[in-house]
Symmetry: none
Subunit: 203 residues, 4 copies
DNA sequence: GATGAATGAGATTTCATTCAT
DNA sequence: TATGAATGAAATCTCATTCAT
């Protein structure tokens, strides 16, 4: 007879561990973080943590990639709305750049951790791959719609542009994670939409 | 077997170590590579390697970031040439995307290693920072020149666009390093130049 | 097997390690003793030992210098007693030479280890220095008292004699530690007191 | 046909190595000195050094114990002279304390190195043992002579006193080697002779 | 002989994981 | 179930010694 409250309690302990882990992994990186660090940060015991996650790797895999993780549900909602393709694209950009907690450097560091880890950790790799495909197809649909509606030029390479847009965001994440400079997200978003819609060429 | 021409010989041994190290670091990542791995790959002894590099970290720092490391000298030469800004920008893009060994996945993995390591290793961080600044200023100069000549629109945010272009390339590197897909560099380069010059909007 | 009374248990494990360490350090010396030796002697694991002492050096520093370590408390008690200076001095000598475990060769070896190590290890050096000062001042007080009471000659150089007495004991320790001969501590103590009180000269 | 000058040359090279070795061993201790250190200090090559001494240990064993190493020849000469026992004893003490280069701290450090090493290195042990016996018998002879002549008291324990005198000098060496204080050798020698001849007791 | 690059056994230390209590 | 002491494989690095040139 498993206790009633147990489930709820387990969930909250699990969350506590994940939060602690995320915090140290961000600060010190996956490899330079020891389970003792996680223990210290969480305030729990070693045995407790191993009761929830059977290895350091599994603990890591269960962290959320909050880096530039777009809220896909919101993005899909926008896609299905009744606006111009341009407006939709801008709104999706808004979600990326400005929503959530305004993109913390720590979250971006976590993204970088995931990318680096993905080379050795299958499940992380797969998660990244799936994420990528979803966002790519979403953007491709949006771009195609714009072309069909006559908002966007006929000649554009929709798939490549989707790839490029994702790459740009990933690159900004990387920069924000690793380098010293501050990023003015609003300004960079404006520059990006301006560039994407109209290019640099004078007519 | 110490040879007559000491200096030359040492350099070649040093290079052998660096090559071996690069190869394993790319394959397994910095942390999952042990010095024994480097020893095995290089065919030398542990002592020999420590005779050239006083720690695993120092060995790593001495590897070249060949990822998307633009050949800055060639880029500067283009900048000083007598062509249109558009043509110059395209040529710089060519250097990035198509030159060298056509951008190997391994080289991109190394770039990712450097980015991840930069969070904990000062000298790597600094190297990245410097690289970034150089490329950024180079691109900014090129864009400004285009605006002055009337080739590019007056309203563009030169600094932000330079940042975005770098981010795009970094993001492609990251994707190439981590994910499964192949990248058609020529196609993606064409899509990028098309996008950058003319945007997606129909007139 | 962590027990209920954690503190007590930890202390006993700690002591077990210290005993094992002392035993091998005495036998083989600090440098010729490897942590594996300590591991083997203690019956514990490597990790366990490092859980108690964070380095070989720290482990060494925590060993007690039982060599000729006078029991200062007992010596002070004697100093405050109500006897002749001569009697006090003899009793202090008794503590040195005859008390404790009758001065084991091993303990003297440990003393030598400490002296040798003190050249490179600050904390050991400092411990030695402090010990020396305490004993020196104790002896100087005793000698001065003897002079004041008229038991000892007025002309004696109290500080130098204190230094000489300590040196004699240290030298005996050294000899006992390094050379083959047995030492008859009672005989040597008698000779020392005889010498110190009356000198060799015939009247 | 071995070259003529060779022998002389070999000797001077050998001396250069020994000097260099002594210098670093004094500074850093036997164990913390690497052969590379000796190489650097001597200005010779590794191969050269191994050409003269077949191991680090052998090199060490060939160093001279200049610590408090009495000049036995001079001591013996004094013994055979035609003076009072007291005068002879004082002169022997002079040799110990005041001759040579006034007893350098470095030489005493070397003595300590030898004592510590003697626990593990047979030849060093044996050398120390022999030295000890020689000095001991020399002092015993001197003391006995004093007794026979009526200069010294009949009841004294000659052997023990010889041991004590050596111990005192060894202890001073140890102290000078390890601790911070300066030693006024003349003063300490005066105190020692005063103590030894007349003791502390007032009549 | 002289050189110093190379060797490789062995030292110290770390840390993910287990398991007796 | 929770604890945290204990484990021990594996990592990094050192350094006395050798030996091809």
């Amino acid at each position: 007879m498993p206790p009633k409250v147990s489930e709820e309690y387990r969930q909250s302990t699990r969350d506590k561990i994940l939060e602690a882990a995320e915090s140290v992994f961000q600060r010190k990186g996956y490899h330079d973080t020891s389970m003792d660090n996680v223990v210290a940060e969480s305030g729990l015991s070693k045995g407790a943590i191993y009761g929830y996650f059977k290895s350091k790797e599994e603990l890591f895999e269960n962290l959320k990639n909050r880096g530039f993780e777009i809220n896909l549900d919101r993005a899909r909602a926008i896609l299905e709305s009744n606006e111009s393709a341009r407006s939709k694209l801008e709104k999706v950009a808004d979600i990326y750049f400005l929503s959530q907690n305004e993109v913390s450097r720590e979250a971006c560091r976590m993204s970088l951790q995931f990318s680096a880890a993905s080379l050795q950790m299958k499940p992380v790799h797969q998660h990244l791959e799936e994420r990528y495909q979803e966002i790519h197809s979403l953007l491709a649909i949006l771009l195609k719609e714009g072309v069909r509606r006559g908002e966007f030029r006929k000649g554009i390479d929709v798939d490549s542009i989707a790839s490029l847009l994702i790459a740009t965001v990933d690159g900004l994440t990387l920069r924000w994670a690793t380098l010293d400079a501050e990023i003015n997200w609003r300004k960079i978003k404006d520059a990006l939409t301006d560039l994407v819609f109209d290019g640099v060429s004078s007519r």
